[in-house]
Amino acid sequence: MVRQAAVSNTVAAVLMVVLLAAGFAGGYFTAAFTGTGQTEIATKTEYVTVGGTVTQRITITATTTVGQTSGPPLKIGMTISKDGLFAPLTSGYESFNREWLNWVNNVRKGVYVRDLGVRVPVEIIIYDDRSQPDLAIQLYTKLATEDNVHILVSPYSADIGIQLIPTVAEKYRVPMIMAEASTKDMWNKGYKYVVTSMVPYWEDNQNGWSASYFDLQANTKWAKTIAFVGWDITWAIDTYNSGKSLARKAGLEIVYDQLLTPGTTDFSGVIRELRRINPDIVYLAMFGPVNALFIRQAAEAGYSPKEYHVIEYGAGFVKSLGQLSERVTSEIFWTPSFKYYQSDLLVDLMNKAGLSWVDWQWTELRMIIFQMIISAVEEAGKLDREAINTALHNLQIMTVSGPLIIGPQGYGNIGLVAIQIQNGRIQTVWPRNLANATYLHP
């Protein structure tokens, strides 16, 4: 018996050596031993027809990482604006996606799919929508029907996002997670395939975009008057309107309001009027770079209110404004001072992606989306759009910005906190339990 066992062990050992050698020769173990895996980025050019007549050139980037995973990949589809109005705000997400993919495929070793009994690799397919709604619809249709992605992530801004829900998500029954895009009409029409992590920020209650900021004003009471200036686009109007209501509730008198056509970049007339009215706070409801432009033009005209509040600062705000950005207030879903789930990982991924969290304000929303995707797929247990959609609508998870619960209408409960730029740094100033700096005011 002992001899038989010895022979069996020898045979088994020889077999193992042979198999290992074959494995090394075939490169099977390379990724596992180097610990980094191999990232393959494939880029190709295709043409799509927009609006029936216009042909657009598009660049397709598919990033996959070969690691210790098996089975069919989990496919995520999205567009990123590399050109046009939204490019300054979103083009950096591509490098963040790449770093997250490296992490999920090589460090986390994929996403576990219960029915397959394996951890599957993740693949992200990205197209460039050039900030054009028509092109975005074409590309998302392609993602849903030709690329057969399991989940869609919306592009930047509600104006494009809202058009994709009926035309793609609902039509082809693909779950779509709204990234930096949400507005009332997305959630009151009974759509079944759309979710977001964000609170309904158009409301004039604690969910409101600037609720934290106006709560701060109600507590400090230094300001008496406020002026509102905004661009007439979905997201800005939502924040502009809820902000006005919240300002009144906080005891502020609204002495001026002005909605401008999107694209307005000459603010000289508005600045002249503001100088004469002299409000304590000027509330700017426009995209980050446009807010910076307003502040610069006002400074050139010799005007500076006691405080600026901007609904977004975004890429290059602090750097481009320098001293002018001091004491500007805004809001954000996350800062590194938050110590919730995977906060350190987010910082690490952003560093590797070469993104500063000061410049790329909404990257935390992308991180939350990836956290939602992993949880939903592992909960669903299969690579099936319906199952993943059901799981997404029942999510109750911890995220970088705190606990997330998706409500029955599809929106979540992740809200914003008030921040202030102090000595070139973004500091959380409200609510008290999350603040890491004292709010500075006149």
Partner: protein, 310 residues
């Protein structure tokens, strides 16, 4: 609940609506904006009337000069002096580029019949427009570029004007006068005017059409570049994609003032700039962009040759 759209505006404060100081300041703003339009349109007008080319890429040269000046300004320490120095580099550089643009792309089709030439040139300059956008996007990125000169505004009798608005006024007057003198007093200028009146006769008189057209292209592109520099200096943002909207504005000025007329470009620019600014301040900022179209339609219906006579 958020407010209904109809409730969202406060009525304009009466003391603002009847403020003479605000009116004067807005008037100055309008004149300055109109001046910028005039300089840009002047370049387009020269190219159109002398070389017979409707240069769709004109606004993209404005954009590219603004981008170049932004880089120079940033690399020279973001100081006002650096901005002024960028004029010395950008203006001659764009003159030379315009010259080569004509010789390389327009001259080969310049012998075609008038209709074919017009269509060919629209297609060529449209292609150049796309190329310039791509070059700008890949070289400078897609972030809006704007500069902050940090100069104190000029204040007198309660009126406050940003310093560079004042400087813009001087620059526009200087640019217009220079072009006027060039057209009146130099041989090349006279040749340009002769071609504007009748190209066949000018050719018969021995004027070197190709050489003059090339110089005109250089001059027009240089004016676009100066327009871009002034545009940037006034704190307006430059992105790779603003070119086409600037071209449309310049074309509007051309139609309103009258194509091929120096004074026409100036008048057209000022009318457009004043209309946009005063409409914004005293009626609604919503109507500012639309006023250009309204003006265009009114002029086309009432005075199709433009506001300025021959």
């Amino acid at each position: 609940m958020a407010e209904k759209p109809s409730e969202r505006h406060l009525p304009p404060p009466l003391n603002l609506m009847f403020s003479p100081l605000l009116f004067v300041e807005s008037l100055i703003d309008g004149l300055v904006l109109g001046g910028i339009y005039a300089v840009i349109a002047l370049g387009l007008s020269l190219i159109y009337s002398v070389a017979g080319v409707l240069n769709i890429s004109h606004g993209d040269w404005v954009m590219l000069s603004g981008m170049t000046a932004f880089v120079l300004f940033s690399s020279l320490g973001s100081q006002p002096l650096g901005y002024l120095q960028s004029y010395l580099v950008v203006a001659p550089l764009f003159f030379a580029t315009g010259l080569l643009f004509y010789l390389g792309l327009i001259k080969p089709v310049s012998k075609r019949p008038k209709q074919e030439l017009l269509i060919s040139c629209i297609l060529i300059t449209l292609g150049v427009s796309f190329v310039l956008q791509d070059i700008a996007a890949t070289s400078f990125g897609t972030l809006p570029k704007s500069i902050y000169l940090g100069l104190n505004p000029i204040t007198f009798v309660g009126i406050s004007i940003p310093f560079f608005r004042f400087a813009t006024f001087i620059l526009v007057v200087a640019a217009t006068l220079s072009i006027w003198l060039f057209l009146k007093r130099t041989m090349t200028g006279r040749a340009m005017r002769a071609i504007t009146y009748n190209v066949e006769v000018a050719s018969f008189l021995g004027i070197p059409i190709t050489r003059v057209a090339a110089i005109t292209f250089g001059l027009g592109t240089m004016l676009a570049a100066v327009g871009g520099l002034i545009y940037l200096g006034n704190g307006f943002p430059i992105t790779p994609f603003i070119g086409i909207s600037i071209t449309v504005k310049a074309l509007t000025v051309l139609v309103v003032g009258g194509a091929g007329k120096l004074i026409g470009s100036l008048v057209g620019g000022l009318v457009l700039g004043l209309s946009e600014t005063l409409t914004g301040v005293f009626i609604s900022y919503y109507w500012s962009p639309a006023i250009a179209i309204v003006l265009l339609l009114v002029v086309l219906m009432v005075r199709p040759t433009g506001l300025v006579s021959e």
